[in-house]
């Protein structure tokens, strides 16, 4: 498996640290309530298909990435800088 880091180019997956769902970008306000925080921290979809994950290019440039991939075919359809994705959410 290889991931196309927007900064470093195509790299072996061993250079990357896997975090989990990209939901982590969407940190709730402190007073958002238990249900919202529960969803943010614990409830995860388990899709057979497209998923968006956070990876860090820890053995490279250090950039956090949002990787869109298919859990059935393992095909990676997009790799974005997490900072760009977060800015676009604002």
């Amino acid at each position: 498996m290889r991931i196309e880091c927007p900064i470093c180019g195509s790299r072996d997956r061993r250079e990357f640290y896997y975090q989990g769902a990209a939901v982590a970008l969407d940190r709730p306000a402190p007073d958002a309530g238990d249900a919202v925080w529960d969803v943010y921290l614990h409830l995860r979809d388990n899709p057979a298909g497209e998923t968006r994950d956070l990876w860090q290019h820890e053995g490279g440039c250090g950039a956090w990435l949002v990787v869109t991939r298919d859990t059935v075919t393992h095909a990676i359809s997009a790799v974005e800088l997490a900072s760009d994705v977060k800015r676009a959410m604002a």
């Binding site: 498996m1 975090q19 982590a24 402190p30 238990d34 977060k86």
Partner: protein, 978 residues
Amino acid sequence: MRIAGRGMIDRRKPVSFTFDGRRYSGFAGDTVASALLANGQRLMGRSFKYHRPRGVLTAGSEEPNALVTTGVGPASEPNVRATTQEIYEGLAVRSQNAWPSLDFDVMAVNDLASPYLGAGFYYKTFMWPRRFWERVYEPVIRRAAGLGALSGQPNADAYEKAYAFCDLLVIGAGPTGLMAALAAGRAGADVILADEDAVMGGRLNAESEIVEGQPGQAWAAEVVAELAAMDNVRLMPRTTVTGAYDGGMFGALERVNQHRARRGTGAPLECFWRIAAKQSILAAGALERPVAFANNDRPGIMMAGAVRVYLNRWGVAPGKQVAVFGNNDDAHRTARELAAAGVHVAALIDCREGVRVQGAAYPVLSGAQVCNASGRKELEAVTIRTASGEHKIQADCLAISGGWNPSVHLTCHLNGRPTWNADIQAFVPTPGAVPGMRAAGACNGVFSTRGCFVAGLEAATAALEALGRKPVAINFPEAEDAAYKLEPLWAVAGKGRAWLDFQNDVCVKDVAQAAAENFRSVEHMKRYTTQGMAPDQGKNSNVTALAVLADATGRGIAETGTTTFRPPYTPVSIAAMGAGGQGKGFAPERFTTSHAASLAMKAPMVEAGLWYRPSYFPRGQERHWRQSCDREVGFVRNAVGICDVSTLGKIDIQGPDAAKLLDLVYVNTFSSLKVGKVRYGLMLREDGFVMDDGTCARLGDQHYLMTTTTGAAGQVMRHLEFVTQCLHPEWQVHVISVTDHWAQFAVAGPKSRDLLNGLLDAPIDNASFPFMACGAVQLGGVEARLFRISFSGEHAYEIAVPARYGAALFDLLVARAEAMGGGAYGMEALNVLRLEKGHLTHAEIDGRATAGDVGMEAMVSDAKDCIGKTMSERPGLRDPKRGQLVGLRPVGAVKQLTAGAFLFAPGDEAIRENAQGHTSSVGFSPDIGTFIGLGFVTRGRQRHGERLRMVDHLREIEAEVEICAPVFVDPEGGRARG
């Protein structure tokens, strides 16, 4: 027996080697199997279960029988296929699975017991009593069964792993692969051509066909030479592509030096490659399959295609009187070529009716089958069944062909299933099963040489198009284009054991029995019979076994389906996959700048993550580590001690929003910290549990230096990157690890300031440098940083210098400390000192502790949000029944405490349900004069003075303890401020 004028061996270069101690001679270019056959040695192994005598069946990596051990001692390697191992001068080869000798094997008694040893025997027999499973049955079964054995000594050979990249990976260098590589190479693509054989050419080297007016072998050599001359083509002979993985990745094993006497030279024996290919062409060829009949495993019975390989590639006739048996035209080719080479063909037996051969120099029996074979250690005769009955003919070799199975394996590694093709009675790859891969030629069911050339060119053209490259025109070589016709024949009817899986000793009746016992699914049949579960993974038997199962269950073969194909295609040694990971290579070592000095002082080193730190510094008469540790604790409490603390994580944080970042990641506030001051901080995970703790110094208005624990440095750094990139990319703040850039030493004890004032260019005092102050200082002209912080609770400092001055400064500090009645201290003393003060390590903040558990909930600022704050307010994390940090001291007869022990109320039974808490860290305190400990006890803070029973079930230690405050020395903290 050698045939003059044939073969690709160098007859001017004899090579001698040994087999079971006996000396044999072959030629350069021979494999162990070809050289042994040339010498008339046909018995090469004993079978796995029944210890049946076995000869070589094939001429390739799929060989099930001729597995041998090469080399001696630590250099020995078991289960090497004699068909692929090239001989070299002095090579020592031993047979396997036979005792006392290959010729006379006592375990062959298993063969007589075979009526009791069929499929399911182990499952049914070794059931009871249960206690016999591990003690009796398993050792006995393991000794009786099995193939080669490991030497039991450490592997002294070097292995490598490496990455390679290309536009196009061509797997297999037969007619298809050569043509594909040629077309892609001429078009300028970056090509890797990998082939498991030492000589590229595949079946072109195995046949005597004419290609473009010259022998196929010569044509292949020409193409290989042209490819070798291209800068954009990389040839990888002796390299098996073993697996296809996601994103165009492939695993490949190169046997770099397995063909040479290279032990002890340091050169790698094997290299495991990871190849990243934009496109790939599978040109892996096909494997011929046997026909099952009674005693079809006799030495001398071989694949018909393999007989041609021995004849044409190595100039070896595998027998003097060869019978040929098949269900297709390819068998005829073997008979023809043997006769042309002057080998006596006893008969050509074709199961198809109405087959005629014009001008054959041997008897042709059409509509006939071979139904039995005789001769225990060597084939003597075969029994032929025709319409008119059965008769025997003399033969010392039987060449057999049941048709060809395309090598679809790699197309199935990403979960793909092959498709049944009734025309060739075999499975072919399902297109698109591996993205970017095209299967072409024989592995795609195309069997003529010309057909393979066409397929190779087409696949290359399509791959070039996908790569955005223009193909160049290629002149098409003339070659045979014979049709491939066969009539399915899987197993000849009859009594007696007819072998399917030679390597695991599975017979037709075993598959039939599995079906009868309702193991009808192919995956169940496989596991019940062990069909295809040997190292060869059933390469020449799986399809036939499926056909037998289909027949037994009344289903079609396509409907019965295949089992799952998994990497590796051929066995890969763990040593190659783990290359670089042996011994010290398993984990890199990180050394501090004082490492050499610590070793010179004879300090035993302990691992802290990847770091190595001194445990203690033994002196003179000390016979026990505790004596050294107690003395070193005394240095710090009474004089001055020196300890290297460089391994703690140091993260430099700069920018206008640095304070915002720290306020978010720490529970307490850092924006209010004054420049020149240090503050202790506690960090939570978002789920509310403690992540790490440490100090953070404000070096400038927009400049902080954070320290982390040694173990959590990487995690904290990643966390800060997460917060700055994923949560607040709008903040102007940068973080960088400077752990390795600074050497940092604790100077701790009442005389610490005196020591430092002897070294600093400008002296300090309590007013200019109070507790928790920090700032730049100069030390002999070197810019240094000084922090007045204390892990020991004493008046203490940490001084940091650029790492290049670390070694010199450590020596200097230790010398000065020794002159003042102190000296270096190690991890043991450091731990006791912090225990006496109740300071935390990851033994306490173990991922389950909250700020409240460790008594720090008051630090959590009400005035701001922080990571983990919301979730730390969950009821479960605020439960007063949670374990709270306490001190523990022994009060009963047993004075020893242990870490990880459970705590119980005095009258309670010591079982999990009654546990009131546990001990997290313990140590002997020379200041208190007893063991002291830290631990967590439910409602512990309200229970000071209560007594509990400590039970360490593992070490079988019990002690009575009293709960106390988790600070044993100087509870007011006056010493650190003095």
